[in-house]
Amino acid sequence: MGSYESPIREPLILGDKDYKQITTDIVRSTQGFPPLSWVIAISIAGSLAAFYFFCVAWTVYYGIGVWNLNKTVGWAYDITNFVWWVGIGHAGTLISAVLLLFRQKWRTGINRAAEAMTIFAVICAAQFPGIHMGRPWMAFFIFPYPNSRGPLWPNFQSPLMWDVFAISTYFTVSLLFWYSGLLPDFGTIRDRSKGKIRKAIYNALSFGWRGEAKHWQRFESLSLVLAGLSTPLVLSVHTIVSFDFATSVIPGWHTTIFPPYFVAGAIFSGFAMVLTLMLITRKVLKLEDYITIAHIEAMNKIILLTGSIVGIAYITELWTAWYSGFIYEWFAFYNRALGPMAWAYYIMMTCNVISPQFFWIKKLRRNLYLTFFLSITVNIGMWFERFVIIVTSLYRDYIPSSWADYYPSWVEVGIYVGTIGLFFTLFLLFARAFPVIAIAEVKSILKSSGAAARVKQKAKDDAMAKGGYAEGGDLAGAHHDVKID
């Protein structure tokens, strides 16, 4: 038995593992004292996160004037970072939802950490709409609540309003999806724990999960429907983010290809961030047997695909701008590629369009050093993409007398770098206290995709096919011929 797996498919679990070994390997990182490397890493990340809060406090105290925005460039670093983080936050749900629907087994090794990354990235993204208001305590104005102004409701026809609903729904659903998947693994950790307090904490985290057959049935039904719901959701979120720009009438923004182009870009940068994190995680936590080169190659293929889609979108935009015959539209793109800020445009082009093309070559797709380097390159490129779209469309507008420059102030840079610290602080805490790989899911693919287990299973199935009656584990052999009524 066991689902059939073609022998030419690469195994997804290396080494000679059994169920017990899988648990031991994955739970190991949550036990004992944290290693020195973790302490150093979280000190750096935590300091950056503290600096983030300092910069936000500075902004709120002195006002948005401490940012280098001006009348012409009224939207710059904050929205660039917002879109960048939201984009990164797309890979997790894509991996767990879309790949679940497509029955891709390689998702099991990386889905947990990718979903965690999604949630932390969306947390970072959600900071920016809040602080760019300048008076974050007024943020509740964006929600439709009965008020004394009429009641005057928010404008439900505005893409910025859609964004509020899209991001909060995406965050909530991703969190529910991620957490419901964590329940069985928390149960596993609880049952392995020796200490009383540790046991109580993990019992609370697992909500008392104990793997009853009926619960598993509901669990699977829940994850399948949540995956079905998350798939259009993940596509809708960046579509709506792109509407923030596409429904405006600014040359360079007013583009109908934005939704698919943004979604492809989001998946592109999200997978790059997953790769950056996974390459470090698998090495540090010694999980090379579970996050294999096959996983990395699969992700690199997606990077190649989405990177190429993004490249086509860039070129289509240029062509459309020229073909439109509309001088302002054409000027916006001419100015992007050949104006004073062309350097940003060429960083974007090099990082996003040229660099993933290396992955056409199998050997390079499977090269860890190159993958790590390019995963960071891609995210630099994707940051510049948003910067190019936002700033270079604005800084030279219709009237040359109002043309302006834009460069960020230290507060803006501090907030951006600070969110990276916040992100890594959250991720490091996650990697320490939570199982970074979905234990139960990895166990469920062991027999079909485990390197050694697959061979054993094949031998057993062959014996069964020959008409023999080979069933059971090692202890079952003695009894297999006894018939009971």
Partner: protein, 177 residues
């Protein structure tokens, strides 16, 4: 009396055939606990299909209705506002929020229903037959009462043994209190 004889198996395929045989032998299986979902187990145990997706549908339909009717009411009746000359009732621009709330309500209602139906809560004190059943063993529990005779016990033991059990243990949760 809260007492069980628990057969612990070390392979899901053995467990699956054991479940069928134990049922054939006339025992009522109280519960089966496994470290990961075993396909075919719900059929073997005679569990009917989960109805969680129905909850999801009802939740989604509720979210859809709330979103669209609220926005129509707010824009046409409660406080009609002219935004750039657009019509008060512009259904296409309500699509994004309606979609998001449909998904949100469906997801939340399903997760809440899942927690309630499974009796999962932060303060839950789960009955754990064996701590290895969330790790690498598969447990099948048969409930025993005061009326269970020593012969019954040995019959249970025999059946478990014949189906390839790795370990048998008796758990009395009353005694442990």
């Amino acid at each position: 009396m809260d007492k069980y004889v628990v057969g612990l198996y070390d392979d899901e395929e053995v467990l699956l055939s054991a479940v069928k045989k134990v049922k054939q032998a006339g025992f009522h299986i109280h519960e089966v606990v496994t470290p990961f979902p075993v396909h075919g187990l719900d059929d073997a145990l005679g569990h009917r299909q989960s109805r969680l997706h129905t909850v999801g549908f009802v939740g989604g339909a509720t979210g859809f209705t709330i979103a669209i009717s609220f926005m129509i009411w707010a824009a046409t009746s409660s406080y009609p506002t002219n935004y750039g000359g657009k019509p008060y009732l512009s259904l296409p621009s309500y699509i994004p929020i309606t979609f998001e709330l449909t998904v949100l309500f469906a997801a939340i209602s399903m997760v809440v229903a899942f927690f309630i139906r499974c009796g999962l809560s932060i303060s839950a004190k789960p009955k754990i037959y064996d701590e290895r059943t969330t790790d690498y063993l598969f447990g099948m529990a048969i409930k025993v009462t005061e009326d269970t005779t020593p012969e019954d016990y040995s019959r249970i033991n025999d059946t478990f043994t014949k189906t390839g059990v790795a370990e048998i243990k008796v758990r009395d949760f009353d005694e442990e209190k």
